[in-house]
Every structure is written in C-alpha cells, then in structure tokens.
C-alpha cells in the first residue's frame, strides 16, 4: 500500500462531488431518546464536503450514535437531520458508508466480501473484476484475496472493511474508532487508507479517542460530552485552545466523571 499521501503531509484537495452529493449533512437540535433515557440532546452540527471531521469525547458521549443517525440506521427522536440530497432512502444510504468499530465481515474470502459489496452496490458485472483488484491493492490485501476474511488480523479486517465501504463510491465515509486496539504500524496503514479515501473525493467523519490521530488527520473537531456538543471548531483551535473545561480535561488525559 502506498503511503505517499501520508509522508507528503496534508492531503491533496478532495475532488468535488456531483450535485447529488449528500453533503453537507446538518443536524439541527437533534435529540435521541430510548426507553426514557436521553442519549443525545440538542445536538447541532454540520459535516462539510472535503473536511475531515473528528468526533471526540468520552465513552457514552454519543459519538457512535451520531454516526448511526447520519447513516440513517437510526432516526432522531427530536430535531432534524438533513442531507443536501434530501431524505436518505435505503438504497441512497450507499452514498454514506459506515465502518463499524468491530468489522462485520461476511463468512467469505477477502475477495468474496468485496465481490458481494460490488454486486450489492450495483457495479456493472463487466467492471467488477477491475474494481476488485483496485480495492485489494488499495487495502494492501491482494496476496490474501482468497483467505477467509475472518482469519485476518484486526488491522487487515479493518482495512478490508474500509475498502468495502469505498466500493460504494460514497460521498461520506463514517469511521467508528477504526484503529481501536491496533498497534502503531496497523494504525499507520489505516490512516494512509483514510488519506487515500479523501484523495478519491470522499469526505470522512472519524470517531476516535486517539488525540494524536485526531491531530494528524482532522480538519474540524466536534467534542461531545454526555450527549451534547460542547465544542465544534477547526482542529487547530480545538487542540491549542479548548474552550470548555471538559475538552481541556480530555486533551490533558484527565478522567471525565
């Protein structure tokens, strides 16, 4: 896998997407309550084209829930969530790809997982073979194409999940802690892949607890605390001058209770 995009520093500007892009995505005073428990409250945020947004915050702050709402897997119980292209239909959901923290791979080979995705996303049969090779190369998994996806290492599984998501040619890629529990080498490979996704014109939203990773990758940071957005700011401002005590404590590695 090429890491040119990482070693050259900031990424190339993402190519513009078409007029049917789901971006920008906006949450306006969104809330989510289940069984009487409010998990998100009065959340307003905006995901913009070409900006890598890191969502940070302690466990249970509502970060993953935000991703599920943006993807359309769940629906807000209050407020409005809008995509530029209009309401997201089940098939329109393909414009917003999500990679879960624990990769859910089919009981198939690496190539089998990608073939399934390409078919599901409606890629014409004649184009699938070439795209399969391209995606395998992008993930650095060509040599493991026939290996069962479920016996790959955690890092390899996560890379496969990311390129499977890219098979949809999405406008927006939502990554839920893609490098949790990975070693620095595997983390670096995932970050390279994220850069390559951006170079393809994909806007990325990244949930992460890794402050160093957010510093390396993010353009904007959204900080959530107990289901509320407490900061939404360019990354530089967030790391240099956090505006809330919670964010400052989080960045300093102090426990948020």
């Amino acid at each position: 896998m090429s890491d040119a995009l990482v070693t050259t520093g900031r990424r190339a500007l993402a190519p513009a997407r078409g007029p049917d892009s789901v971006l920008p995505v906006a949450m306006d005073r969104v809330g989510y309550t289940i069984d009487g428990v409010t998990l998100l409250d009065d959340v307003s945020l905006r995901i913009r084209q070409g900006r890598l947004t890191a969502i940070m915050g302690a466990n249970g702050a509502g970060k993953t829930l935000c991703l599920r709402l943006i993807q359309g897997l769940l629906h807000p119980t209050a407020g409005t969530l809008s995509h530029a292209s209009g309401p997201v239909t089940p098939t329109g959901r393909r414009r917003i790809a999500i990679v879960f923290q624990r990769p859910m791979l089919l009981r198939r080979s690496v190539a089998g997982n990608l073939r399934h995705a390409l078919k599901t996303y409606g890629v014409p049969r004649a184009e699938r073979a070439a795209m399969l090779v391209e995606l395998l190369d992008l993930a650095g998994l060509r040599a493991l194409a026939q290996r069962s996806a479920r016996v790959l290492s955690s890092g390899e599984q996560q890379r496969l999940s990311i390129v499977r998501a890219l098979a949809a040619d999405p406008d927006l890629l939502l990554l839920d802690e893609p490098t949790a529990n990975l070693d620095p080498y595997a983390t670096r490979m995932i970050e390279t892949l994220i850069r390559q996704a951006e170079a393809r014109g994909v806007t990325v939203v990244l949930v992460t607890h890794d402050v160093g990773q957010a510093r390396r990758l993010a353009d904007d940071v959204i900080f959530l605390n107990r289901g509320r957005v407490t900061e939404q700011t360019p990354a530089g401002s967030f790391f240099d001058e956090p505006q809330t005590a919670e964010a400052a404590a989080y960045l300093a590695g102090r426990l948020l209770l």
């Binding site: 089940p90 098939t91 959901r93 859910m104 009981r107 399934h116 599901t120 026939q146 069962s148 016996v151």
Partner: protein
C-alpha cells in the same frame, strides 16, 4: 440371525439387482423430496427469519409444530388429495413414485423451514446492521444469508433427508409398496420382516445405515475443508 446378516452382506457384495433397484428408487424419491423441500423451505425460512409481519409468530409456532407431523397423517392428507375423488385425482398420481415424493416433501418441508429459520435468524442478528448500512434489498439480504449459512443449511437438509429416508407410513399409504414400482427400502424392510425374509431386510437396513454414514461423513469433510482459511 447370523445367517441373515451373512446373507445380507452377500446380497450387497454381489450387487443383487432387486436390492439395488429398491435402493435406487429410495434415493431418487428421498433426494427429490429433499431438493423440493429445500427449494420451498429455505426461502420461506429466510423470510420468516428476517421479515416482520402480522402473524409471523403464529407461523413460526406452526412450522415448529409441523416438524413433528406424524408420517401417516401426511400420508393421509396426500392420499386424500391424490385419490380418485380428490382435487388432484385426475392426475392419477396415486401409487406412483411421484406421490411418494409429494408425501415426503410435505413431511420434510416444515423441518427445512423451521431449522433454516433458526440458523438464518442467528446469522441475521449478526449481519443485520452491516447489510442495512449497505442499502441491500430484502431479496439481496435473503440471498446473502442463505449463501453464508450454506454449511449449516446443508446440515438442515441432511436432517430432512434423514426424515425422508427413514419414513415408512406415508410412502406406504400413497405408494402402495408395489414391487418394481413403488417399493422402497423402508417399506421393503417392513414387508420382508413380516414375511420372515430377514436377509434382505437386514441388507437394506445396512445400506440405509451406510447411506447415513456416507452423507454425514461427506458433510463433515466439507465442513473441514471450508473451516480452514480458504473461502469462496
């Protein structure tokens, strides 16, 4: 008893024509019935596993209950359908291998539906969020689950085959146990035992066991192959 077993092995070893005719018909009837039951039962099981609609719970209870359908009752139902006065009487299928296939299909289909529903429901729980996030259609989800659960579903089909191959009552009622026409292993074993002709009964019993062992062994070998690293 010892003589009967020795004679049974001799019949198998020399490839006794009468014995193999019966074995051949038995396999044809049971395998066809299982194939038909899978064609009907697997998509139904998958739909019951993933679709949500009014009456789903009742359908699940019904299919689970029908797994215990007494063969003679299935035989009676098919007999009434195919008899001269029945709705399918004009087809003149009674006392033919086709009637036996229909009876075994009726018996096996609930087993395939109920067991495949459970297998697919478990897998669906694991796959659901990923498949929904991919915007997959219901048909696409069903096909994905059926494919990925194929090894477990083979075991389900095997359970169906076991039920079909070992069944006596239904095929006796709708097939009539006619020599060279509808005589299968189980009905022959019952008949020959009652006549005191134990050699052929034991021989057929051994073949029946051999078939069960072969099918199970093949399935285990397939599982072993699929279990090590390489997937299609």
């Amino acid at each position: 008893m010892g003589d009967a077993i020795a004679e049974a092995f001799r019949l198998i070893a020399v490839g006794d024509a009468a014995l193999w005719e019966i074995v051949s018909l038995s396999l044809r009837v049971s395998l066809t019935a299982v194939a038909l039951a899978c064609l009907i039962g697997l998509p139904l099981g998958a739909l019951l596993a993933i679709a949500r609609f009014p009456g789903r719970g009742a359908l699940i209870v019904a299919t689970n209950s029908l797994m215990g359908l007494p063969p003679v009752l299935a035989g009676l139902l098919v007999y009434l359908l195919l008899s001269r006065a029945g709705p399918l009487g004009p087809l003149e299928l009674l006392y033919t291998p086709t009637a036996m296939i229909i009876a075994q299909t009726v018996l096996v289909t609930p087993i395939i539906v109920a067991l495949s529903r459970q297998v697919i429901a478990d897998m669906h729980q694991e796959y659901d969020e990923q498949l929904r996030s991919m915007g997959i259609t219901t048909t696409g989800a069903v096909l994905t689950l059926l494919y990925d659960a194929r090894l477990s579903l083979l075991t389900v089909a095997l359970a169906g085959f076991g039920r079909a191959a070992a069944e006596v009552g239904a095929v006796m009622m709708v097939g009539g146990n006619i020599n060279h026409v509808t005589r299968v292993m189980t009905t022959t074993i019952a008949l020959e035992t009652s006549k005191g002709n134990l050699a052929i009964a034991v021989g057929l019993g051994l073949v029946l066991m051999l078939i069960a062992l072969t099918v199970n062994g093949a399935l285990m070998a397939l599982r072993g192959t699929q279990g090590v690293a390489r997937h299609v």
